[in-house]
């Protein structure tokens, strides 16, 4: 996923639920993304109804990646776009998900973009999406401003490589896997409406997939794309208050408080993500200077650097000895 220098102006984003949720808000979509720590029914029921699961992973093994089962559906009539720019992978996964959720409220620009791509092949659709300036700007607003552009200076890359994103969702009675790096969506078979519905089938498919990787070779996360709970909670609260159900009122208020504090934490993180810290760095160092603390901090930092160099040399010599 790394190494592609042509980022076409798309910045690499973090793969945090707060980042995804912020993107959805800017697209005018009333959905929220949350981390899933397990696929068991308890965990899944917290966020019902779930519209899509996003599986993000980094393959750190050295042998060939195992195949994921299912069948390619070249006639898939829904929305599917190829990933044509690596850095856009998070937004592309979101598009592949929301493009297939029926009756979903959307902002005007998003509706227009999706409608414009009707009938296109996945590659063309991917290119059209990636060329949408407003979408790229919404995407880039989620990461630090590139006030200092280090692109093209040939510096060693210290940032993490992008995760790979795969969307699982129900479409016309079957569970589908949408992977922007594959030619077409993969159909994993039909599901039953009763009980957990499509999630039961998706659980099978995802667990089977995880099991095919050698232990320890896969870093992954699961995200649930679901309705924003706040409006529903507000309505329930009003109803419970109106009917004098104190137990229910208390329970709902606890849930509201938890959800709101999580959203405030997310808003804090996102505001930190968007910020240009050059002024702050300067102010901090000036404060250290005024307090007479800068010299010592400098000396300690120099000592730490020497230690690092010495350790690297040890490793270098050890490596030479092995020759």
């Amino acid at each position: 996923m790394s190494g592609e220098d042509d980022s076409s102006g798309w910045q690499l984003t973090e793969s945090d639920p707060s980042v995804f949720t912020e993107l959805l808000k800017s697209l005018g979509v009333p959905l929220v993304v949350d981390d899933l720590y397990s696929l068991d029914s308890g965990a899944l029921s917290t966020f019902q109804p779930i519209h899509a699961l996003i599986f993000l992973f980094k393959w750190v093994g050295s042998s060939a990646e195992p195949s994921s089962g299912g069948q390619y559906d070249l006639e898939f009539p829904g929305f599917f776009a190829h990933q044509v720019v690596n850095n856009a992978c998070a937004t592309l996964a979101v598009m592949n998900a929301i493009g297939n959720i029926p009756d979903l409220p959307k902002g005007v620009q998003l509706s227009d973009l999706i409608n414009f791509t009707v009938g296109m092949d996945p590659q063309t659709r991917g290119m059209v999406i990636t060329s949408a300036d407003w979408l790229r700007e919404a995407h880039n607003a989620l990461s630090p401003p590139s006030a200092i552009s280090l692109e093209g200076l040939g510096l060693p890359k210290t940032t993490e490589e992008a995760y790979h994103f795969i969307v699982y969702l129900p479409y016309m009675g079957s569970v589908y896997e949408l992977d922007g790096l594959k030619d077409s969506p993969v159909q994993h078979g039909p599901y039953e409406e009763k009980g957990e519905g499509w999630l039961a089938k998706a659980r099978e498919v995802i667990e089977a997939r995880i099991a095919t990787y050698p232990p320890g070779s896969l870093e992954f996360s699961l995200l649930a794309l679901h309705d924003d709970p706040l409006p529903t909670l507000q309505t329930s609260l009003s109803e419970a208050q109106a009917s004098g159900n104190h137990a229910a009122v208390e329970e709902i208020m606890v849930r509201l408080a938890n959800e709101n504090s999580k959203r405030e934490r997310w808003a804090f993180e996102n505001s930190l993500r968007r910020h240009n810290y050059v002024g702050f760095i300067h102010a901090l160092l000036s404060a250290m200077g005024k307090a007479g603390a800068l010299d010592k901090a400098k000396e300690d930092a120099q000592a730490k650097m020497q230690e690092r160099i010495a350790k690297r040399k040890e490793k270098g010599e050890a490596a030479m000895d092995e020759d």
């Binding site: 505001s271 760095i281 300067h282 404060a287 200077g289 307090a291 007479g292 010299d295 160099i309």
Partner: protein
């Protein structure tokens, strides 16, 4: 990173006779080559020019080694590679019949040993007194064992003195040397010990400051993100400096400073352009600014 040779010159090895201070030159024709390895580190290689084998390959870390003249050697063309971290000594003697470029080679070796990112500087490509210059196309100079000297592949250098008879007087060399020294860009600039901004702006360094100098916290508020969900408090500053986003920004800025290209950007902070040339320079400039602008309180004490 390119693994092209960065400096190369004809040199033989010399070995200390056991238990004595005698160093005997080995007549084998060789070359000293400094180049970046696939491991991204600087390598000091001695190559046998007869067999074409690399018989020595030393990894060099910044500021770890120097290439110094052995003053007792009568010919004046013997040098020793010595390490600050060990007793290793490697002796070499210049094998190019033409000694006028010794100084250039040695100075450039030392520049690279100090900082592998440095670009070597060559002064023997200048036109002679008659105003004619012998320029060779870069990349055509070969490290051969015949008459011309081994030359580094330096695409940015238009002058490749490989022509026999292209002499440069010692006097002219001295003139250039004093020109470099007076402009402060030469080998007489004291070596800078590397440091990273990420080790300076640590919570461990910053938190005690807020307790001992609470008035300084006020100076930081204007620089916090403007769209925080609730009004900032001193606690907010703590949270920000411990956050992964801030740490990533410091790493990013540290890397940017190392490129030496932030002159324009730092002027926007009211600092001189020189402050954008490296981490050390940046810190020095801030120190100066704090001293001048500071409200009469603490100068640097420890």
């Amino acid at each position: 990173m390119s693994t092209e040779p960065r400096i190369a010159f004809k040199a033989g090895r010399a070995f200390r006779r056991e238990n004595t201070n005698w160093v005997d030159p080995d007549p084998t024709k060789g070359a000293v080559i400094l180049q970046n390895g696939e491991d991204g580190l600087l390598h000091f290689i001695w190559k046998n020019r007869t067999t074409n084998d690399s018989e020595e390959d030393l990894i060099l870390f910044p500021s770890d080694a120097t290439f110094a003249p052995v003053t007792q050697a009568a010919s004046g063309r013997v040098y020793v590679l010595k390490f600050s971290s060990s007793n290793q000594r490697h002796f070499f003697w210049m094998q190019d019949a033409d000694s006028t470029r010794d100084k250039d080679f040695v100075q450039n070796v030392n520049r690279l040993l100090l900082n592998p990112e440095e670009l070597p500087v060559w002064f023997t490509g200048f036109p002679d007194a008659l105003g004619t210059a012998a320029f060779e196309e870069p990349g055509t100079a070969q490290a051969s064992s015949s008459s011309s000297s081994a030359q580094p592949a330096q695409p940015s250098q238009p002058a490749q003195p490989g022509q026999p008879g292209f002499q440069f007087t010692q006097e002219q060399l001295n003139q250039f040397q004093s020109m470099i020294e007076s402009s402060g860009a030469g080998a007489n600039v004291p070596p800078v010990v590397e440091l990273s901004l990420t080790d300076v702006l640590t919570p461990a360094n910053l938190t005690p400051l807020f307790t001992s100098h609470p008035e300084l916290i006020q100076t930081l508020f204007p620089h916090l993100p403007p769209d925080l969900p609730s009004p900032p408090t001193p606690q907010t500053i703590q949270q920000v400096i411990s956050s992964p986003q801030f740490r990533a920004a410091v790493r990013n800025f540290d890397q940017a400073l190392r490129t030496g290209l932030l002159g324009g950007l730092v002027r926007g902070l009211g600092l001189p352009e020189e402050a954008g040339t490296g981490v050390e320079a940046f810190l020095r400039a801030i120190q100066d600014q704090a001293r001048e602008g500071g409200g009469g309180d603490s100068m640097d004490t420890d």
